[in-house]
Amino acid sequence: MSTILSRKSCRAAAVIWAALLFCTLAAGFARAGIADGVKTKTLSNGLRVLVLENHKAPVATFNVFYHVGSRNEQFGRTGISHLLEHLMFRGTKKYGPDEFSNIIQENGGMDNAYTTADYTCYFVNINKDHLDVPISLEADRMANFAPQGFESERAVVIEERRMRTEDKPEDALDEQTRAAAFVEHPYHWPVIGWMQDIRRLTLDDVYAYHSIYYSPQNAVIVTVGDFKADQVMKQIEEAFSGIKNGPKPPPMPIVEPEQRGERRIELLHAADLPAFQEGFHVPNFKAGSDAYALEVAGEVLADGKSSRLYRRLVMEKRMVVDINAGLDIRSFDPDLFLFAAQMRPGVKTEDALAEVDREIAELRDHLVSADELQKAKNLEAAQFVFGQDSVFNQAMWLGIYELLGDYRQVDAYLPGIDKVTAADVQRVVRKYLVGDNRTTGVLIPTGMLPKGAMGGGPSGGQVRHIDLTTDEVAR
């Protein structure tokens, strides 16, 4: 499933396509139990380290995960996690701006980073012989953060937001739909932050944020590759164990209140085609079987050309070119089960939404057949193996599960899927995919051609709220 993507913001464009690929490959480990091979250590300062040998190719990936994302931010200061991620490349007490990337590239490596609502990840993929380079550079910027060029980097982030959201109708709709679906929980705001907030953030804000959240006790290192685990563990310990902790990060206690009644928003945006996105509050994998059953429901609905929604909306009704449905069960707090599609010319969103409703009702009223259930499980199992073909992917899933509490949970994924019955699927559809728990966002296109002399005014983003249960989002 792919819903994670819209909540990800990254430092450079290339990683977007990588992320897309990884998301469609879903989770990534074979039944043998990938966690069995992982060596772990907790350093004296609390830093968790996971090391896994993988000798498939002469490469290695080195990842530092910080347990902080937009979910740890405050109203009025949104986007600070992502801005900090950018500034991590702008120098330390020892190195100048962009020297990190330059040194990595000189060593034949590629580096980047991305921020999600839940966590922030820095990664370097590199020839196995040069793993010592990212180890020392990452330790340096954890301890000696001292960025230069704050203003210009913030300008870059503002350009990123223009590219990613302002000029991308579907992402603009995603942002508004989430803002309506989440009232109190920080999933309310976008990972990249609201434009006004980004402009308001200061370098002092960022330093303070770094000192709290970029401590060893709040990080997990995961490295996977063609090396000797013991030797790498030793190198990591030497580089990182002397780094001191800052203040303890505050807890993030907010639980989204139960939604009581349907919400609907409209977004007027520069576009030619209407689109919709609808989301239902659902639990994450911590809730156990419900999450796995929802994952299977997502497979049945929208994975593959033989999936129900693809068949009905793309092939038979020809209303859309593609449709997505599903959830990210590894979100740190309960998130949304999302449906999203852009209309073909001449198609009304209400007609397509009615078809989606019909498919939800079908799942609610009838058990999926044994064959269809098996197909969904087979798709998951295959994607699980395919995902292991990438060391980067392996490291990503180990890191996410470790931040969620225990990297070994990665091996619980397929068994969890396997246990799902047709009755489970029906149960969760009846429980969660119901009208009172739904937020629907509809994009109303205002045209791609400028009307008269538009001047430099905003091209999109005017939001009309209808039938809201709260006016929080209208701020």
């Binding site: 590239q105 034949g108 223009r162 073909d389 430099g456």
Partner: protein
């Protein structure tokens, strides 16, 4: 939600990084064989994971789109993937999905490619399905009608993306009505006019399995997979006739500026000219030169000036898209409408700078080190290995390419870089496409022309 990826930019950026050299410890150990129908088979075995990736290239890319039928190669690829004469499209999809295999047929500028990734235990069955659609596709009216409507709708949707709009205008501006003058998608008008017989004829003429190149990577046995292919992929024999290089109209002298007005916050800029074919002997010099100019991510001069110093763009890069025939060089960036002039000026200045003085020793050294050293990262996954093998064969690089590559890059000198910049960069004779809110962008053509010519541009 998966954003519909901008087809064009995606392919431009995906090919940004050139392939470099392998290490012997994990050599791909490519075996090259010929099938009895004439097809070439390349196999790289790796038994670490129980999965297999197959990729097949056919001389059926959009280069073969007949005049006035832009988008036909892509529509044919889409239509071929709709079941066989025996299996309906839905029955076919059902089988593929049930195994959890991912199977595709697509078209690029130069080639059509088809293939799959499957679990080892479904290798034979998935290969059978792929062979089925390639050798006897259904090509039923209803399916072609449906795919055509989908392609038109996909183009309409892409027309909301400023990057796509720019790419369409850029291709047209450089190559006119010749085959590289349109994107593989074609236009909504050209695709709507394609007939079902156009598709069937295109399939008949260009899906010649006897001249296919087939790459197989993963948990396979080379001789077994060869036997399997002999049995399942007899297909039409015979080669496709060679295609002469199209004659492309020359650009007008000076900067050729095309402004497209859209309701957007960012100006999407594409600046370039016709570059090189993959067979160009200066290919490696050009790769090093372009790494320093705009291909080298955060180490590139464009990134350093336009992004890191000036904060004008999130993304800026340049690429020589080396194709079968000379493909485009393009510098791409997005910046707020109001700073379009400034950003474009910087790109032009950087191009001129490359031509005026030699690059520094560290720049040259770092570029060579990256290009050589990063190779293993590019043949890490099965999909990449299969794609690499196709390139080795189609571009005539030779099975020892991985071993030769470091020398090809390491022998490039500062003088080579300077000469490559002088010979292959044409800032003063380029096409500039800007999709923006033009009122806000207020493109200053006189200033840009001056900068391009190197006169008073204010270095």
């Amino acid at each position: 939600m998966i954003p519909r990826m901008n087809w064009i930019l995606k392919s431009i950026l995906a090919s940004c990084l050139v392939l470099a050299a392998a290490e012997s410890a994990h050599a791909l150990d490519i075996k090259r064989m010929t099938l009895t129908n004439g097809a070439t088979l390349l196999v790289s075995e790796n038994h670490q994971l129980p999965m297999v990736t197959v990729a097949i290239a056919l001389d059926a890319g959009s280069l073969r789109d007949p005049p006035g039928k832009a988008g036909l190669a892509m529509l044919t690829a889409g239509s071929v993937n709709q079941g066989t004469r025996e299996l309906s499209a839905t029955a076919f999809d059902e089988k593929v999905d049930f195994m959890g295999s991912s199977l595709f047929v697509g078209a690029d500028h130069d080639y059509a490619t088809a293939g799959f990734t499957a679990l080892k235990r479904y290798e034979k069955e998935t290969l059978g399905l792929l062979a089925g659609i390639l050798s006897s596709p259904g090509l039923r009216d209803a399916d072609i009608d449906r795919k055509r409507a989908e392609q038109v709708a996909g183009i309409k949707a892409a027309e909301e993306e400023p990057g796509y709009i720019a790419a369409v205008a850029f291709a047209k501006g450089l190559y006119g009505d010749t085959p590289y003058g349109h994107l593989t998608t074609g236009t909504s008008d050209s695709v709507a006019k394609l007939s079902n017989d156009d598709v069937r004829n295109f399939y008949r003429d260009y899906y010649r399995l006897g001249s296919a190149v087939i790459a197989v990577a993963g948990d396979v046995d080379a001789s077994e997979v060869k036997a399997l292919l002999e049995k399942s992929l007899p297909g039409p024999g015979g080669a496709v006739g060679a295609q002469p290089q199209p004659t492309v109209p020359a650009l007008a002298a000076g900067l050729d500026i095309k402004l497209i007005d859209r309701n957007v916050q960012q100006a999407n800029v594409m600046l370039g000219f016709i570059g090189i074919a993959r067979s160009n002997p200066d290919y490696y010099k050009i790769q090093v030169m372009n790494y320093i100019l705009g291909g080298g991510m955060f180490a590139s001069r464009l990134m350093k000036t336009v992004r890191s110093k000036a904060g004008l763009a999130y993304h800026v890069s340049s690429i020589f898209d080396a194709r079968k025939f000379p493909g485009p060089f393009v510098a791409v960036l997005q910046t707020k409408n109001q700073s379009a002039n400034e950003a474009i000026k910087m790109v032009l200045q950087q191009m001129r700078q490359m031509q005026e003085s030699p690059v520094s020793d560290p720049e040259l050294d770092n570029a060579r080190k990256f290009l050589v050293g990063s190779f293993p990262l590019k043949i890490d996954r099965q999909e990449q290995i299969a794609e690499f093998m196709l390139k080795v064969e189609l571009d005539g690089l030779g099975l020892d390419y991985a071993e030769r590559y470091p020398k090809l890059i390491e022998s490039v000198t500062k003088q080579d870089v300077l000469e490559a910049a002088r010979k292959y960069l044409h800032p003063d004779d380029a096409l500039l496409v800007v999709v923006a809110n033009q009122h806000a962008a207020a493109i200053n053509t006189a200033m840009l022309n001056q900068t391009a010519a190197g006169a008073g541009g204010g270095k």
